[in-house]
Symmetry: C2
Subunit: 503 residues, 2 copies
């Protein structure tokens, strides 16, 4: 078989499997937005069939044959070409899949579906022992998965690889440790500051219909394209990139809390802008897919925080907010508003945390996950370990498991290895933004005028259009000239909070 | 192979193909309701893949082998058992599909997609010659299809079989001719009546938000289950039965015309009630599928017209309508309202026609379609033939092709053979309703009290739960003790219009 022919057949097959997977994307979106409630059992059957069929297509032995025909040939001689990128990353995914015994995959699917139900109930009843057997099963299965996939140094690496290709526990631990060392004193200084924002501002009346129009305007302004996307309402906001011309984000509206829909929408729109600006001609292949979850998260955090919680952004949007919500904001000063949306306050729940303390939540989970995988921590000891670490990091006593180790859905879904991508996202976002400001002079003046196009184009060129051409670490090095470090995020946090908290 | 095993594998395969097809049902619904506009090209690829894959599953040679293993064995000895019904109807569909050359199927798909675009433009520009070459292609391909499928008496029968299994042009022609013979004088008498309704009532202000709540209440009252369904807005209303617990209907709202959303919703809800009450344990097989398009249409017409345009229905709903739309209806009498919603008036456009003249639109199309298929009428002569027949039936000169032979999308979609199912639906609806009134004493009293449950249950038992156990003609004979005739519909129309028009 001629290598070029093998490549063509390989891509045709992979694109078709992706296309079938994208149908599940529509069904998944529908399930969370408009599906009638009695349809859930049947929807489970539809989703199961699509998952099984696209999995079979991705892992067909023919894919392995075609990869073997094309690897090491001139077709992939330029490592930065779409051909080479696709072959490299299809191989990575293929190897990962075929190493996993079918029984393990099916057992994980069965256990995690039931574990999610058990977790939901356990959290509601604040009953860790009810969840413990499920966590034990899941940790055991994920350890098996890690062994099956294989790793060089740490069993965590095999799981991490699914979300953050090429990353290692060792490298992340090093960056997180340095970050933590600098972050904890900053948070402590803020806690001791006599300045406190008036956060009541954010809990006034914010009419939901007006919020809808306002968040839509903001999402549109930063570059989310509503001709190729939608914004709907769900309890748990998400972004679903279905395919070219079709990316859907969701948010939730709280008539008594401004932040929930506004920053939630900017966050999802950031993910959406990434999806909408992938290279459509490579749709369904690695060259047209997002780099990693960490890089994906960098895009949501960049728009939500670096841009959307910034002073220049609000110099444009605050007068608009006052016009839309005059009763609630007419007597509020810009500085009071800006301070309120940038409050730092240690709290128990990760998803409600501010930009600074958020990362301590992640580091805690990352450490526990590694210990669970090595066996240094047994699932039954998680609540104790959690509470101890939490008090060390936050200086707060965890009142109960619902506000402690039972708060997140991730472990019940088998998502061990996922959490660090959130803080990686924050770190990458700061490092990219520092570079963008240096590359694009007067960028903050753009924001003050409600102009975000230059930044969006920069991100398109530097990140979105490249797909999986480079692994995250290499991408970061190429864009910023440096490996990932905590310095840009620390500098950003110090500058912002130094000003508002006078620390 | 043991026949029982063959049957099990057959059903597993057919259910899986249906399940995959149901995913396309969700995507099709989404395409017409919420899909972002830039997604259409990609959606075409998704739909194409699902159609191809489910077609391959239905027509796999293995299906033929399994059918051969089970046919004529004790597994199917009881012809009314789900086993026998499934084998009989899977065989029918399978034979039809494998008789069609692949090239013909692909050519039809290609041509009809382009022809729909050409039709839309031709209708907008009132330009039949622009559409003529497409009609020629489609008629030629449908004649080929008819030859490939085969028929006993009339080439039309081969096409009809797709929509109305077991029906024949000869039998339909006989019923339609008798119907026409009695209907035309009734319509003429109405035209000469000095009584005219005040149809302006229907064109007053009907606030869209209030309409939404009102049509939802009505759809719910007749038995459409919103826990297992939805009502959304589209330009062209439809009902999509996706699967157990998931049936979606749509309507459109006109703030200056009451009928559009109200009767449209009752119509689609009638289809929806059929879909929602199929036997879910036979989902994905003929025993759990609707009998035919004619029977399906009987359910929509029954609720829309037989029930929804009836005096007892409005004795319950008119006071409610007055309460919801007081400005428009407070001074309107019940009799004026009832007359207005039952106006008979010959007009050019089928979809805007009343209950009586509607059927003349269908009979005209049915006659032309047969002549096109035999070759007695060439596509280029359609406008002339249309206009001549129209004047004969309606006494009106067709002003242009857009209001004549270009008005319907059906031919551009290749749907020759579909039209008669609309009038079959009207005929079946009347015949079923006559029987229901005889079986269920005091049924109209139920309606006067807003109770529709006894009728719905009767339809569930007599029709919905039976799936494809009986072909339409046999089903009708079993329910009513008579073959399909035009008498019940004529009796119904005479009684209603005799009263309001004093004819």
């Amino acid at each position: 078989m001629i290598p070029a022919q093998a490549y063509t057949e390989l891509i045709t097959r992979v694109k078709e499997a992706s296309l079938l997977g994208s149908c599940a994307g529509v069904l998944g979106w529908d399930e969370r937005t408009y599906m009638p409630k009695n349809a859930s059992e049947f929807r489970g059957e539809q989703m199961g069939l699509l998952a099984r069929m696209s999995h079979e297509m991705f892992t067909s032995p023919r894919i392995g044959e075609l990869l073997a025909h094309v690897e090491g040939t001139p077709v992939v001689i330029d490592p930065e070409s779409a051909h080479a990128v696709n072959v490299r990353e299809i191989r990575r995914g293929y190897n990962r899949q075929i190493k996993l015994p079918k029984e393990l995959v099916e057992e994980l699917a069965r256990v995690t579906i039931r574990a999610q139900g058990a977790w939901q109930e356990a959290r509601a009843k604040n009953d860790f022992p009810a969840f413990q057997p499920w966590l034990e099963k899941i940790v055991a299965l994920k350890r098996e998965e890690s062994q099956a996939v294989g790793y060089e140094k740490h069993p965590y690496d095999a799981l991490l690889d699914e979300y953050e290709p090429g990353a290692s526990a060792e490298q992340i631990s090093r960056v997180f440790a340095e970050f933590r060392r600098d972050l904890v004193p900053l948070i402590a200084a803020i806690a001791q500051s006599s300045r406190k924002p008036n956060s009541e501002i954010l809990h006034r009346e914010y009419d939901v219909e007006k919020q809808k129009a306002f968040v839509r305007e903001a999402a549109s302004a930063i570059g989310f394209d509503f001709d190729g996307g939608r914004l709907d309402i769900t309890t748990h906001p998400f972004c679903s990139g279905i395919g070219p011309g079709d990316c859907r984000i969701t948010t939730r509206f709280n008539p008594k809390f401004f932040n929930e829909s506004f920053f939630g929408t900017l966050h999802e729109a950031g993910h959406g802008i990434y999806e909408q600006n992938l290279n459509a001609s490579h749709y369904g292949t690695p060259a047209g897919s997002a780099c990693s979850l960490g890089i994906h998260e960098s895009q949501s955090r960049l728009w939500e925080n670096q841009v959307g919680r910034g002073r220049p952004f609000w110099q444009h949007f605050f007068p608009k907010a006052q016009a839309v919500f005059p009763e609630s904001l007419k007597d509020t000063s810009f500085d009071d508003w800006y301070f309120a949306i940038n409050e730092v306050k240690p709290s128990f729940i990760r998803v409600e945390a501010d930009e600074a303390t958020y990362n301590l939540h992640i580091i805690l989970r990352f450490e526990l996950e590694q210990a669970l995988l090595t066996g240094d921590l047994s699932p039954g000891d998680v609540p104790g370990a959690w509470d101890e670490k939490f008090e060390q990091s936050f200086g707060l006593k965890v009142p109960d498991a619902a506000q402690g180790c039972l708060q997140d859905i991730h472990w019940s879904m088998g998502g061990i290895g996922y959490f660090p991508t959130y803080t990686l996202g924050n770190l990458y976002a700061a490092q990219f933004m520092e570079q963008a400001k240096s590359d694009l002079h007067g960028l903050e003046d753009d924001f003050r005028h409600g102009e975000f196009g230059r930044l969006k184009t920069w991100l398109n060129e530097k990140i979105h259009l490249l797909g999986q051409t480079y692994r995250p670490e290499v991408l970061c090095q190429r864009i910023t000239g440096k490996p990932l470090t905590h310095q840009p995020l620390m500098a950003y946090l110090r500058a912002k909070y130094g000003e508002v908290y006078a620390v």
